[in-house]
Amino acid sequence: MSETTPLRLEVRHVSKRYPGVVANDDVSLLVAPGEIHAVLGENGAGKSTLMKIIYGAVKPDTGEVLFNGKPTHIRNPQEARALGISMVFQHFSLFETVTVAENIWLGLDKSFTLDAVRQRAAQKAKEYGLDVEVDRPVHSLSVGERQRVEIVRALLTDPKVLILDEPTSVLTPQAVRVLFVTLRKLAATGCSILYISHKLDEIRELCTNCTVLRGGKVTGHVDPRNESNASLSRMMIGAEPPKLQHREVNTGAVGMTVHGLSIQAEDPFGVTLDNIAFEVRAGEIVGIAGVSGNGQQELLAALSGESIRAPSGSIKLFGNDISKRNPRTRRAGGLHFVPEERLGRGAVPTLALAANTLLSRASDLVGKGPIGWVSPRLTANLASEIIKDFNVKAGGPDAAAKSLSGGNLQKFIVGREIGAKPKVLIVAQPTWGVDVGAAAQIRSALLKLRDEGCALLVVSEELDELFEICDRMHVIAKGRLSPSVKTSEATVEKIGEWMSGLWEVEHAV
């Protein structure tokens, strides 16, 4: 860093407290022009708060932000944008019912006409090699395409600082390559990039500087190119990630068979399932990879029994047709389910953990007979047991589900389903938004269950996770399911290609 040019962005000793938690504690950050700077940390480490402070959405309690060497008070996102600070959010802020060009128009100055915006957007997209069709309505776009729209929108404001919040969580490995090319091109024009992530490989490949946060404090300021995953991980979580025990697979009887599962989408923004077929045997974990929005929701609804539109005979549990059965009947047959949405599907947010055990364990807890008394003692005991066995950090069986952090609630839900001794367990996004420690614990619990002879199906967007725990993998793309491949024979490149729906090519040969 030369002494003569001022830093593009400097954050000095910023602190922000929320009731009960210090989100940022004396955080400082230096970003030079044209630098790609990683902000690394777990969920809850304070990355989002820090970015919101820079973007003007949150006011720090103490500390200051300097922009181009001058102290700057950014009071709201509009002021940030006027200065040239743009942000691409993890959860996109696009309007679904209008076209790409109209979305971009809404984020720009009034002085443009829609036609001018269409032309400029198309031109900018071409310049950076981003494939964007400006006249398509946003609801018809995939998540990757939506992200490109957000990036084009940010680029059109000529940003000096571009903040990207977990940009690769929705992309295939190939699309990540394309994104990196774009970002390097942008950095070469002098734009500084703040790259928020928890993916160590990506940071080491792309970024030239890295600030690590843990529990709201800066625990390291390094050049990631000189670091290893292990050393970055130590700074991020204080330890190296625990290694999993992965024993040789020993499969038994077929637990679940899906054959000829086609369901027309009801919802215009939904995905039509097209002739899906797979089987899961006792004692193995089968993974389904794929970018979200490719039919996972529809498939999970059909498997769990939330939707009973699957054709007769298409879903079998130990040879019995369950395609038209409700979730309760399926559970009685040994099929349990950990949904993606923890609050709302996996648990009732406002109810105590004890009451939440009733959601899927009612048959063990509710008295027989027409009235079906609930025993508060039994539910509380069961909840306490799960809390103890799975190391759940909670106030006790009376704590409301929503008072738990994402990781702890997920441990509780996984524990509840595992405790039911399932014969087949379907898990959606087992560790989404879960910190590294809890994720490792959940994964090892799933592996243990496998070794005990349960058939497991894991649907996840995290490729690393699938490679870590699965014995075989399928990929879902545009409502179709690829053939399965043994994890030991799969590569990230191949799975990535399949994620774009390109598996016939090699099978035709």
């Binding site: 996102p77 509009q78 944008r81 802020s93 309007f95 609801h139």
Partner: protein, 306 residues
């Protein structure tokens, strides 16, 4: 033939009240606010317009008074639901109850009062065409206003930036807020415009359509207007069509009642309500169109910056 021409003329006239009110509600619902107080606003506006015409003798001042009454009530409603985040449905119902009571109270001395006969309107040159003139061109200017308003709203919503902003706010006030749009103020403006148009519809009803002081003279038209916007999937042209359909069936059943058909009149009086809802529900049942046109945030509270 002449009687069909008259039937068409009566249909357009009867549909106009509903069309203006429903188009107003469409504007505020496109911003994400549903105002169940439509009936109450129309009642107050009807009596405000009627009383104004009784005292001034000028219809246009009466329309203005109706719009003012609707606008003021809508502004109160808007302040409550947009800034204080009171429940939209409960607040709207309260407004309807208030409007019914207040209009009855304020209108006591106008009950049974009749406005003088209006001179008939005719579009110069076109009104004298046989049949066609009678059917289409001898209407009160407000009938043509409703048609022009429909065209204007289509242009505004789908061809202008302001319309795009309004629709975007209705879909996601959070995203619009993060882009820096003054969501609350825009929603209030939409609610007030909706109230003013409901007011205009109420005043037209009491001054032109049934120029006679009666308690509760709106008789459910506010509710039908609310239903129209929903069943027409928030699309202006369908709203206008639904309003004319309602007007047409209303007139047809009057006609049948007059002819002494062997159907109890209570059943005939139901037909416009049933026919309109059934027809609109059938033509608008496409889920894709509903998803695209329905303001996704409708009825939900919005807290900026949370």
């Amino acid at each position: 033939m002449e009687q069909y021409a008259l039937l068409i003329a009566a249909t357009l006239n009867a549909g106009t009240v509903l069309a203006i009110a429903a188009l107003g509600l469409l504007i505020n619902e496109r911003s994400g606010i549903v105002n169940l107080g439509a009936e109450g606003m129309m009642l107050c506006a009807a009596i405000a317009g009627f009383a104004t015409v009784v005292h001034t003798g000028n219809d246009w001042v009466g329309f203005g008074a109706g719009m003012l009454a609707g606008g003021v009530l809508a502004a109160m409603f808007g302040y409550l639901v947009i800034w204080l985040n009171t429940n939209q449905f409960a607040t709207g119902l309260a407004l309807t109850l208030f409007g019914a009571g207040f209009s009855a109270f304020a209108g006591v001395k106008y009950v049974q009062e009749k406005l003088p006969e209006r001179s008939s309107f005719s579009v110069p040159g076109l009104g004298d065409i046989p049949l066609l003139g009678t059917a289409l061109f001898k209407q009160h200017p407000m009938v043509y206003f409703a048609m022009a308003l429909t065209a204007f709203i289509i242009w505004f919503l789908f061809k202008t930036r302001s319309g795009l902003v309004l629709r975007s706010i209705g879909e996601s006030p959070e995203a619009a807020h993060s882009l820096g749009y003054p969501v609350r103020r825009i929603r209030l403006a939409a609610v007030v415009v909706g109230g003013m148009l409901c007011g205009l519809a109420g005043a037209y009803l009491s001054i032109i359509y049934t120029p006679l002081g009666v308690e509760g003279m709106v008789s459910g038209k506010g509710w039908i207007a609310l239903a129209l916007t929903t069943f027409a999937t928030w699309r202006p042209l369908r709203v206008l069509f639904g309003a004319y359909l309602f007007g047409g069936v209303t007139m047809l059943q009057f006609h049948l009642q007059g002819q002494g058909v062997e159907i109890p009149s209570q059943f005939l009086s139901m037909t416009p309500y049933i026919a309109t809802i059934v027809v609109l529900a059938l033509i608008s049942r496409n889920p894709a169109l509903i998803r695209i046109n329905m303001p996704a945030s409708i009825g939900k509270p919005f807290y900026p910056g949370s």
